[in-house]
Amino acid sequence: MTTDPREQSGFSFGEAIAKPVRFVMDLIDPPLRFLQRTTGIGGMATFFLLPNMLIFGIFVLLPFFINFAYSMTGGTALFLPDRTFVGTDQYARLFDCSNYLDANSCAEDTFWTAVGNTAWFVLLQVTLMIVVSLVTALILNRDLRARSFWRAVFFFPVLLSPVVVGLIWKWILQRQGLLNFGLYSLGFEPHVWLNDRSWSFAAAVGVSIWAHMGFYTLILLAGLQAIPRDLYEAAEMDGTKPTRVFLRITLPLLAPNLLVVIVLVLIRAVQIFDEVYVLTGGGPGTSTLFLTQYIYETGFAAQLRNPGLAAAASILMGAVLVVLTLLQLSLSRSGEKKGGRK
């Protein structure tokens, strides 16, 4: 004897959902069967991948080729058909330097300043980001009180728009900002952080770490939680030192996650723009002018914009990113092979 009123009335929620789904499946089944018979299993895979490949082709590959075409053109006209073909002139202009270590000796000095600044930024930011994210993940992986709260605290800045991040830190660091107010209240001399070349660069690095570390911490935390607990218990029973546990268990087993983080941080660092643009505008002088801002200024913001030069610079930036990513992937593969041999 049934007591569920829904069953008594003959209503089933699961059945209500299943019916239309079954109807749709019945509808598409005959053509799909026909397709499989005609093209085989391989053809079906292509069929299912096609929509994604189309989207990728239209929104990623096509713009890439258009961008490359732009980089081979000159003039100030905006649309490709109106532009003059100049071959590799834009690349030659970017590389026209008597000394690559001295931006002032280059025809496009601001490009090389931006390259130098970006290289420094990547080196500092990627290193610090990985160290800080890893340390945070290790701490959050412990049995802390209110652990969920602390995880949320570290993740919160990731949810903020980069413009908001830039503005918040500008209000803190500017001449009459919160930091100087605090220093003044404590009897210290205020400092104009954003007018100081070293401090503004440090601020750019620090702010970008603050804004994004939560995301990378989360990836590393997921990796840490996937490491079997019994490995740690065995190490503890053997009386292994914590440093050795970290180096011999945690780090090797976290390597796949760490690699993902390194690639993502690296790409993000080379592309740095939004929050730093709001925070420092690339100043003081050109001390925080990074490659993406150079491309933006050249292609969009300057009077008499030069889309060809901006496109050439972005192709070079993309090439560097591809090389770095491939290098890391090959390093990780060789690491895996070595691990396998052992």
């Binding site: 003039g75 200024e297 009077q303």
Partner: protein
């Protein structure tokens, strides 16, 4: 089946109705610095009551949209029917010639002819639109700080050196962050450059290399930034040609002397109120003259419009003397309308400081040099301004010495001229 047919028919009628409405639509792309968007909306509502067949849609956008997105739309042969624009000459090939469409072209020539060349292709007599406001660069002094320091305000014909000396004295005495500030803009730097005898326009109409006049003022200016007389926050704080103003520092009483322009008057009137006394000083003098730089925003018709007759009607209405008078008096903008300027205006404000400042700027229009009047209609102005800002700020930040900065300015401009193929 009948239901579906009915729905399709209704959809078709709706589509036709909306197309018919679009035939009378006039879309305006507008940006606001203050209350002018609200004033314009009010004026347009009245226009639509008088002309029920024309539907004017006012798109209020950020200035950045006009500066960065409008050129792209225009290059694609698209965009609004009318737009409020500042870089009028550089995009003049996209403006509609209103001459055959307006009710009385002679009225336009007589009253707006002075600035018509700023917005039309070289060598034509096209009527592209009119200036919604004429601006003039000039200085503002915090009179209360001068009074408290016991330093007299420099006289009307005071030089840049006189103002720097007096402002420094006041800043030191009153413990103010900076004595002077000048907006991070090539247009703003050009006023003093011209007062030092500079001329950007070469004999062939193309940009001339930076001359002694400009070099002399820039040398002085960089020295002031380096020794802290001029605000570092404005010029050193960004790269490229990014615009930075020091209006907030002046409003907060942290600046003794601020070189900006007439468009700041409504802003100061609203935000400073009775906090302190301020005065407009006109442009300080250099060895050659005491000129400021004219400029402003123009309302232009776009030639890709589908409704040119309706556009001309809207433009005729907005250019009417009584409408320009009301717009200017309510927004506290200096009008471009010649007849109106001769008759005078009664700015709608109780703020006597603002009224005095506006009158000061009206008077200062008489001290504009010939070259200052030519520059807004010169195709290469913005190219020159961009190079000036980028390189002078690098010199002020200590990245380039002055000779390197001067060489870079010339090289940047030469490259742009070459790139443009003109």
């Amino acid at each position: 089946m009948i239901k579906t047919s009915t729905m399709l028919a209704a959809f078709a009628v709706g589509l036709l109705a909306s197309t018919a409405a679009m035939a009378g639509d006039v879309r305006i792309m507008w940006y606001s610095d203050g209350v002018e968007g609200e004033v314009l909306k009010d004026l347009l509502d009245r226009f639509m009551k008088e002309n029920p067949g024309i539907n004017v849609i006012l798109d209020n956008v950020a200035y950045g949209v006009v500066r960065e997105q409008l050129p792209v739309q225009l290059e694609a042969g698209d965009g609004p029917d009318i737009a409020r624009v500042t870089n009028l000459k550089a995009m003049s090939q996209h403006w509609l010639d209103l001459r055959p469409l307006v009710a009385d072209a002679s009225y336009w020539d007589k009253n707006f002819g002075g600035q018509a060349d700023w917005m039309r292709p070289d060598g034509t007599n096209q009527i592209s639109g009119f200036m919604t406001q004429i601006t003039l660069t000039g200085g503002f002094a915090n009179k209360t700080l001068f009074d408290q320091a016991g330093v007299a305000l420099p006289p009307k014909d005071a030089t840049w050196d006189d103002w720097a000396k007096a402002a420094k004295q006041v800043a030191d005495s009153q413990q103010v962050s900076f004595a002077m500030a000048l907006d991070r803009s090539g247009h703003r730097l050009t006023g003093p450059n011209l007062s030092y005898g500079s001329n950007y326009i070469g004999a062939d109409g193309k940009p001339a290399p930076l001359d002694e006049g400009a070099k002399n003022f820039i040398t002085k200016f960089v020295g002031w930034v380096t020794d802290g007389t001029m605000s570092k926050d404005v010029w050193v704080s960004a790269a490229g040609s990014t615009y930075r103003a020091a209006a907030d520092d002046f409003i907060n009483g942290q600046l003794v002397y601020y070189y900006s322009g007439s468009w700041q008057v409504p802003n100061f009137s609203t935000k400073i109120g009775t906090n302190f006394d301020w005065v407009a000083t006109g442009s300080p003098c250099g060895p050659a003259n005491c000129t400021g730089m004219p400029g402003g925003a123009g309302l232009v018709a776009v030639k890709y419009t589908k409704n040119p007759k309706e556009v001309a009607k809207v433009m005729d209405y907005l250019a009417r003397e009584d409408i320009v008078k009301e717009f200017s008096e309510r927004t506290l903008f200096l009008p471009a309308h010649k007849g109106l300027l001769e008759k005078g205006l009664d700015f709608k404000t109780d703020d006597q400081q603002a009224k005095a400042a506006l009158n000061n700027f009206v008077t200062s229009t008489s001290s504009l040099s010939d070259i200052a009047q030519k520059l807004p209609g010169w195709y290469w102005s913005d190219t020159y301004y961009g190079a000036l800002v980028t390189r002078v700020s690098q010199a002020a930040a200590g990245e380039l010495n002055l000779e390197e900065a001067f060489a870079r300015i010339d090289a940047d401009i030469a490259t742009k001229v070459k790139d443009s193929g003109r």
